[in-house]
Symmetry: C2
Subunit: 405 residues, 2 copies
């Protein structure tokens, strides 16, 4: 079994980088905090005897050699970037659970047949740069490296420049052969806790479509401009923001609709807004439902454009089809939970994860553990050390089975 | 008559400071651009033989001596701060029309009995700092100097620090005696243009109540969090933003309701917003109507708080009662227009102006001239040089009448 205390200590050490007063972490992708966290991981991986390689989009691969160097690696990992008001566990747990597995193999002097790699994927959160899950997307070939490097944050800084600045743009390299990929993660929702189960055997993930919706009206003075002459971009946007949620409710209980980000122009108290850009995040268990949701939103856009005398445009920023993980890897997770006598249940992920991209190039699965109150993307995010250790034990068992001893 | 060309040239010279690519001006209160514009005005005023004094809130008084130094001054003026995407005329016209009057008196070697003062009031726009019309409010005693200095912008910078930094916090001084105050301004609405009139004889102004409305929900992950468990601050805010406009429409055609500024926290695409602060700007021709509007909004807040499981708080940031200007000064403006044979009509200001504060300590009135399409608080703001000269001529006549020759 893994050393749960060591895993917890590493989680807390990493959480100190970008720590917020409310107990969370602010470590946006490719910032100085991200760089420092990456350097800490690299140091730990080297101390654990790994060779470390960085690819051109900044993904970090820490490899523990196998007896047979020709065999494809068994991979695990996740991300260490966070939301602006994120928690200590989202992503970080998957990376450090992987590292703990390697450390445990070292403790016990276990040689695996296949190499084992722990990966840190770049910019999973998608908060600073879109598309979300960028590093794994480039690795899997879903997004071109050049397109990813060209993505810009709200201040106009590109991924390419930010990567170069923190020194994590590695040289071009071939994609390594992969035997399988397992990712441990907190659930980020309330299902396991409600059901009183420790392990979520993740069978698949909701499909996602993300957009920027831009509404253009006409700036005018809030005092002398008669109500009926206004072309108020914010009022039109408010109707559409409500529609995003209403459309998700039509497809209850599995669909999701969220507006998380809003930018108002010129954002002055006594100016009727001339422009608003807001994000749309739709999720659903199948693509037909996503099609229907997108269609309903586009219809709402047309109606609002006429009613409010504004222009409305929609630009897609991320897209993933709904996904089922590899049946063999999923069974591996379920069997490990059964063998270790840990309460487990099947679950579908509402969040996107790097595993979704890696699933397109290797058999993959995920292991969920509960988080307190189902709360994530919040500084209050919390998890029970016992559950975290249980998830790492499942991961250890899956890796040992696939990498063979 | 004034020199319309000189007035226009000065307007264009001043508009170069903070000029935007779209032909507007961005010169927020107490920025370096504001400092440079202030310095230009002071230089021009000194060149016109004025003595210049700055008061503790940064209002600039340029005084042309009268034959009788004991007589209260006839005042005119406006402001030279602008909206983030403002125009060349809002405020700037009133200040430079006043300066043109002084220059014309110099050209013609006219000595007035009373002194004439041209004033630049600090932070009229209220875009960077609230309350709006801050300099004239402090001058009139409606806002305490310390409270004004303590006001902070979105970056946490205080008015006091910003004033000290640009070197425009003058020494304590007594409020000078004032005979009367006349302010020339573009209308910032479509009424004069629609009616084909050159001069608006401003009889009064709409009352105003400004608020910050803060909605507090709970941050959570946009993927795994079921729709029915959410406490989405932005969805609640969107309902309330719509109500601001709906409430104004109930009191059509004279009431106004605007949401101009919105801040979402943490403003990340895949985080259900935990907090939203948005501005509310209500205006109406009488205080009973404003009471009813505020009451209706507070009721909406209570309903939304329950429906959306959020907290909603309202904080007043500015308040002015509806106002009627001094009958004598208004008659002076009307008579000047009649004498000069310029088309004029009575009009109520939908915008707040420094004159609203000065009206509480001296007989006051305003002179409106049309602006193209009624457009203001927009980089496209424009005005006809002929109309601007006509307004300055009315101002000259009013000042000559009150200051006696
Ligand atoms: N796991 C996680 O928080 N991923 C971020 C991408 C998403 O919003 O689903
Ligand atoms: N004149 C003007 O634009 N004043 C700003 C204050 C207001 O919003 O009425």
């Amino acid at each position: 079994a893994v050393d749960g205390d060591r895993l917890w200590r590493s989680l807390m050490d990493l959480a100190a980088i970008g720590a917020t007063p409310k107990g969370g972490v602010c470590r946006l992708a490719l910032t100085d905090e991200d760089r420092r966290a990456r350097e800490m991981f690299v140091e730990w991986a080297r101390a654990a005897g790994c060779t470390v390689r960085v690819d051109p989009i900044g993904n970090i691969f820490a490899r523990r050699a196998g007896r047979d160097p020709a065999r494809p690696a068994v991979m695990t990992g996740s991300h260490i970037d966070t939301q602006p008001t994120g928690g200590k566990f989202d992503g970080n747990y998957g990376v450090l659970a992987g590292l703990e597995v390697l450390r445990r193999l070292n403790d016990l002097d276990i040689d695996t047949e296949a190499p084992v790699e722990v990966v840190v994927w770049t910019n999973e959160e998608g908060s600073r740069f879109v598309p979300v899950m960028m590093g794994s997307a480039v690795f899997a070939g879903a997004v071109a490296l050049d397109d990813a490097r060209a993505a810009r944050d709200g201040d106009g800084i590109s991924v390419g420049d930010a990567l170069d600045r923190i020194g994590f743009a590695g040289p071009p390299c071939e994609r390594p052969a992969i035997d399988s990929y397992f990712e441990a993660h907190i659930e980020q929702g309330p299902v396991l806790e409600d059901a009183g189960q420790t392990i979520g055997v993740v069978t698949g993930a909701l499909g996602q479509r993300w957009f920027d919706c831009e509404v253009t009206g006409f700036e005018a003075h809030a005092g002398p401009t008669p109500m009926e002459l206004r072309r108020d971009a914010l009022q039109a946007a408010a109707v559409l923001m409500r529609r995003v949620v209403e459309i998700a409710l039509v497809h209850a209980p599995h669909a999701r609709g969220t507006v998380g980000q809003v930018q108002v122009h010129p954002n002055s108290r006594n100016v009727i807004p001339g422009g608003v850009i807001f994000s749309v995040d739709f999720r659903a268990p199948d693509d037909a439902m996503l099609d229907a949701m997108e269609q309903a939103f586009r219809e709402a856009m047309s109606v609002v454009a006429i009613d409010h005398k504004v222009d409305v445009a929609l630009r897609e920023t991320s897209r993933f089809a709904a996904l089922r993980f590899d049946a063999g890897c999923v069974a591996e997770v379920a069997a490990a939970a059964r063998d270790l006598g840990v309460g487990a249940m099947e679950i579908v992920s509402g969040a996107g994860h790097d595993a979704i991209h890696i699933a397109t190039c290797a058999p993959s699965a995920m292991i969920f553990v509960p988080c307190a109150g189902g709360i994530s993307h919040n500084e209050l995010e919390d998890a029970d050390p016992v559950d975290l250790a249980a998830g790492a034990n499942i991961l250890l068992r899956c890796i040992l089975n696939r990498a063979r001893v």
